[in-house]
């Protein structure tokens, strides 16, 4: 794919080029990204963007702890410090996407995604492709900014599910990311997250994971932490998450004018609860991954 400036998508900033030489201490640090776009707000008619209206009270099967107690999973690290996002019509809540999966006519909460263009949602690879059963074609529905039983941006379906062979062929957890090209352009009103890659260490960088945990009945919840460990292909952090948070953007907030990306800037795709080093984790956005997902727009 070309990365020439003339052919680059609008808003892409070309920084210092990078050869992927992570192991060379003397290598010039590369960084490139695209800034977030805050969109235009709640549309009067979501069908103008090709989305389907969803009546208030539409029932997605899910679960909510009546007591609000700590759910008690490994991936809630220490106390449960998640905070509900309500309402969900401001940015980036409205660019955060509830993904449902319908099996045998029953639609249930499944994963989280994040808008990364007018018609592109990014998520975890295992949210779109299962190594044992294949693609979830025809089973997924996307609700930007869902808020319990309220769906201010309607819903869209996938025209194309996307991932990479690192996940679909090799099954590598380090490559567990994917996406969906939607049959709507709802991102024009919800806005979309930015993203950037860097070869520099991200340890200590603040992280926010905002999405739809399976114990909260289609409500959006957020929690902030920081990068605790990083490898060239994976980031580790202690944000509190639960099944259903897969695919959330692991993002940081960067000031206007920051190199590569300003605003809400994704660093990784949340995918896994606590592993061997005691942290939650997700595939890191690298140069080649950034180039790949930009090409999905």
């Amino acid at each position: 794919m070309s990365t020439a400036s003339a052919g680059a998508p609008k808003g892409v900033e070309l920084g210092t080029s990078d050869t992927g030489a992570f192991s060379t201490a003397a290598a010039v640090t590369g960084l490139r990204g695209v800034s977030s776009y805050e969109g235009t707000g709640v549309p009067a008619d979501v069908t103008a963007y090709g989305a389907q209206r969803v009546p208030a009270g539409h029932k997605v099967q899910g679960y909510e702890s009546p007591t609000g107690d700590d759910f008690g999973t490994q991936s809630i690290i220490g106390a449960d410090n998640r905070v509900r996002v309500d309402p969900t019509t401001s940015f980036p809540a409205r660019a955060t996407v509830l993904i449902t999966r319908t099996v045998n006519g029953v639609e249930r909460q499944h994963c989280t995604g994040w808008m990364f263009g007018a018609s592109l949602v990014l998520t975890a690879g295992h949210c779109v492709y299962n190594q044992t059963t294949g693609w979830y074609t025809g089973q997924l529905r996307f609700y930007p900014g869902a808020n319990g039983t309220s769906f201010p941006y309607g819903s869209c379906t996938a025209a194309t599910l996307r991932s990479n062979t690192g996940w679909t062929t090799d099954g590598s957890a380090d490559a567990d990311y994917g996406g969906a090209t939607l049959n709507c352009s709802i991102g024009n009103t919800t806005g979309w997250y930015g993203a950037y890659w860097t070869t520099a260490s991200l340890n200590g960088t603040s992280t926010t994971v905002q999405g739809y945990p399976g114990d909260k009945a289609q409500q959006q919840w957020t929690h902030s932490d920081q990068v605790r460990e990083s490898s060239s292909l994976r980031l580790y952090y202690d944000n509190d998450t639960v099944g259903g948070n897969s695919g959330s953007s692991v993002h940081t907030v960067r000031a206007s004018g920051s190199s590569g990306c300003s605003g809400r800037c994704s660093l990784a795709f949340h995918a896994y609860g606590v592993g061997s080093n005691g942290h939650n984790s997700g595939p890191r956005i690298t140069e080649s991954r950034f180039n790949l997902v930009i090409g999905w727009r």
Binding site: S2, T3, A4, L14, S17, T19, G20, A21, Q61, G62, Y63, P66, T67, D69, T73, Q74, S75, N104, R108, Q109, A124, H126, Y129, N130, Q131, T132, T133, W135, T137, T160, L161, R162, S163, T165, T168, T169, G171, A173, D176, G214, D215, S232, V242, G243, G244, S246, H270, A271, Y272, G273, V274, G275, S276, S281, E287, S288, N291, L292, G295, W296
Partner: protein, 126 residues
């Protein structure tokens, strides 16, 4: 490798992403020929039942790795269906599964499965 002409450098970025770092990744989609599903995962199927042995619909079923060190678990939301059935596809190993619905969490059940294997789990809600 040395960097030569700036224009060439720009053109080379995409190639280098797939070459020099050795970890370039190629896109795949359901619009192209799908890869054959592999059997590297372990499958855990099961059923959630209530105290009377009736299937429970819509219980959130979550695995916890019991291996040392623990396996990272994909953070999918997996619910039992109207017939109480559920399925998890995980890295092979030993897991503890628990079902939760309406504030009730049943006693966890352990199961171990190898790559390509299928293990059955029965979960009870009080």
């Amino acid at each position: 490798m040395g960097r030569a002409h700036p224009a060439k450098t720009v053109l080379l970025i995409g190639l280098l992403a797939f070459g020099a770092c050795g970890r370039g990744e190629t896109g795949s989609s359901d619009a192209s020929t799908p890869p054959s599903p592999t059997t590297a995962q372990a499958t855990f199927t099961g059923v959630v039942l209530d105290g009377g042995g009736r299937p429970v619909d819509g219980a959130l079923v979550q695995p916890k790795s019991l291996d040392h060190p623990p396996q990272p678990v994909p953070e999918l939301a997996v619910f039992s269906g109207p017939d109480g059935q559920f399925a998890w596809h995980l890295t092979p190993g030993r897991y503890e599964f628990s079902a939760t619905k309406e504030g009730r969490t049943g006693t966890p059940s352990e199961a171990t499965a190898a790559a390509g294997g299928t293990e059955r789990v029965e979960l009870r809600l009080p």
